[in-house]
């Protein structure tokens, strides 16, 4: 019998596969799967919407467009996990917050940058890694 203190040994999918639960974000992930970075923008007042959403918080318009972006930006903040909370991630690993040139911020992982090399405002650009046949992740490497 199950007791609450002792959960079943879980078969854990990669956390990436938890994504795309909301329809609003589907176009974003579909573009990433094609190795493109595309962001949602309000058709009315041209506000960038990240995370994606069905309505613009500035003008309450429900019309939006998906705009390909360069994928260039700089590091706005980062954290490093000395111990992994999940088997899919090997510690130590870092999570970065990237501010894109468009002003939108994305959480991601550094690609080819060791935790101790990370610096505030380091210029980075997007790269893509396939997770499965139809799902990819965006990461950021040092800008060339």
């Amino acid at each position: 019998m199950t007791t609450p203190g002792e959960p079943e040994a879980p078969t854990v999918p990669h956390p990436a596969l938890w994504a795309v639960l909301y329809r609003s974000s589907t176009p974003f992930w579909e573009a990433v799967a094609r190795h493109e970075l595309s962001l949602q923008r309000c058709s009315g007042c041209k506000t960038w919407l990240m995370p994606p959403r069905p309505m613009c918080p500035r003008c309450q318009s429900a019309e939006s467009e998906w705009v390909p972006v360069s994928g260039r930006g700089k590091i706005h903040s980062w954290v490093t996990y000395p111990e992994s909370p999940h088997p899919a991630f090997e510690a130590p690993y870092s999570v970065i917050l990237v501010e894109l040139d468009e002003g939108v911020r994305l959480v991601s992982n550094p690609s080819g940058i060791a935790p101790e090399e990370l610096e505030m405002d380091m210029p980075v650009e997007v790269v893509f890694e396939d997770v499965s046949d139809d799902f990819a992740l965006y990461k950021f490497k040092r800008a060339g």
Binding site: M1, Q60, A62
Partner: protein
């Protein structure tokens, strides 16, 4: 402690309740905006999207802008997270939020909690909403979904039901309905009129899921038995959609586009030994004490009685769930509700008690009862598809058979 003594002896203790003259909700708060999405079997949009549309329409209906909104009330069951919703709507600062549990039992409590907030200055304009993809998404009411993500019952008490294949709200309700029929000698062949009349209402309501699909009493009795005594057409219609209302103070309401619909009373009740449809260890299983408590409190606050009510919107997850409420709310005696609905005339638009005039949860849509609140508002504005002539007072209830809530609204 005498368990449910007031209910068992049908003697409501006014002295236990706060004095009516201290009640700041009664007549001092109002509903000033309503909004809804299309109701469908498959919206092809997520709940966040639906919620945004319904809320925007309610805000527009009230003649407000999103910047005026400073309160938000949701069901805990709602899959839309509040921060995400706030981020989509662009509300700068909510001064008040709260959530109500108990699923459909919370539908009117949402309005009541919002009213308490505006009555005490905690907020000026509170949005109440419900968004769900019950038809196309995860279905709360179905047994087959559970096997996918559960290996054990999620709580102690469900451990006494789930291992026995007993895990759907309608089947839980069938258990007490069967007992109620047994105790009052209800004949199955007399039932069905409730469903037929609601379907008639839906024929005039183009928003209703069953618009254009009438039902005869013969058709009802030919519909498949889902779980005796419940037939398919005893049950509510799974829906994708959202509905929202705006609550504010009565004095603000005076200067708004629509005539205010005042809250004459608002009540919630969670009686002891209540569970979600499985309250089998209460002294009386063949009844709905939570609805009785809510009714008594509504009548105490409003000073009205059943005879003063012009139109009723009673939460109907299944036909008997609404009909037994007629007894608990004093519209008929114990065991008389099937007779009350026999032939349907009493509950039609020109009857003694026009009931669920939009088609209710059975035939309009299942928006967890928030669509019953919007229909009550339309009746009191005089804009319902099945308008009750000169309707001045409406009673609205939330889900029966679990901690519930109710409202009396007036012009």
């Amino acid at each position: 402690m005498q368990m449910l003594e007031e209910y068992r002896t049908k003697s409501y203790r006014n002295d236990l309740r706060p004095p009516v003259d201290a009640n700041l909700v009664k007549d001092k708060t109002a509903i000033v905006g309503i909004g809804q999405t299309a109701y469908s079997r498959n919206a092809e949009r997520d709940e966040l999207d639906l919620a945004c549309e319904a809320i925007k329409k309610a805000v527009d209906d009230a003649g407000l802008t999103m910047a005026d909104i400073d309160g938000l009330e949701a069901l805990t069951l709602d899959r839309v997270s509040m921060p995400t919703l706030i981020g989509s709507l662009g509300i700068e600062n909510l001064r008040f939020t709260s959530e109500v549990s108990f699923g459909g039992g919370g539908a009117c409590a949402l309005v009541m909690h919002a009213a308490a907030a505006v009555a005490t200055g905690a907020a000026n304009y509170v949005v109440v909403y419900r968004a769900l993809n019950e038809a196309s998404g995860h279905r709360y009411g179905r047994g087959d979904g559970y096997a996918e993500y559960l290996t054990a019952a999620p709580t102690l008490h469900y451990g006494y039901y789930f291992p026995y294949g007993f895990l759907t709200p309608l089947s839980w309700a069938a258990m007490y309905t069967k007992r109620w029929m047994h105790e009052y000698g209800i004949k199955l062949e007399d039932t069905g009129w409730y469903s037929v009349v609601l379907r008639e209402y839906a024929q005039n309501n183009p928003d209703a899921i069953f618009y254009g699909k009438p039902l005869t009493i013969e058709g009802f009795h030919e519909s498949p038995m889902i779980s005796a005594p419940l037939r398919l057409y005893d049950c509510c219609v799974d829906t994708d959609g959202a509905a929202a209302v705006i609550v504010t103070t009565a004095d603000r309401a005076k200067d708004m586009p629509h005539a205010p619909v005042y809250i004459a009373a608002a009540a919630q009740s969670s009686p002891i030994e209540t569970e979600i449809q499985t309250s089998y260890n209460r002294p009386i299983v063949a009844g709905l004490p939570e609805t009785w408590y809510v009714g008594q409190e509504l009548y105490r606050q409003s000073g009205l009685g059943p005879a003063d009510i012009d139109v009723a919107q009673l939460y109907d997850p299944f036909s008997y769930g609404a009909m037994i409420q007629l007894e608990e709310l004093g519209f008929c005696g114990p065991g008389e509700c099937v007779d009350f609905c026999l032939g349907g005339d009493r509950i039609r638009v020109d009857g003694d008690l026009p009931l669920n005039t939009s088609g209710g949860l059975l035939s309009e849509a299942y928006i967890h009862g928030v669509n019953l609140v919007t229909e009550a508002v339309r009746q009191l504005r005089g804009t319902a598809y099945n308008q009750v002539a000169d309707a001045e007072t409406a009673i609205v209830t939330a889900g029966p058979g679990l901690p519930t809530s109710g409202l009396i609204l007036r012009k």
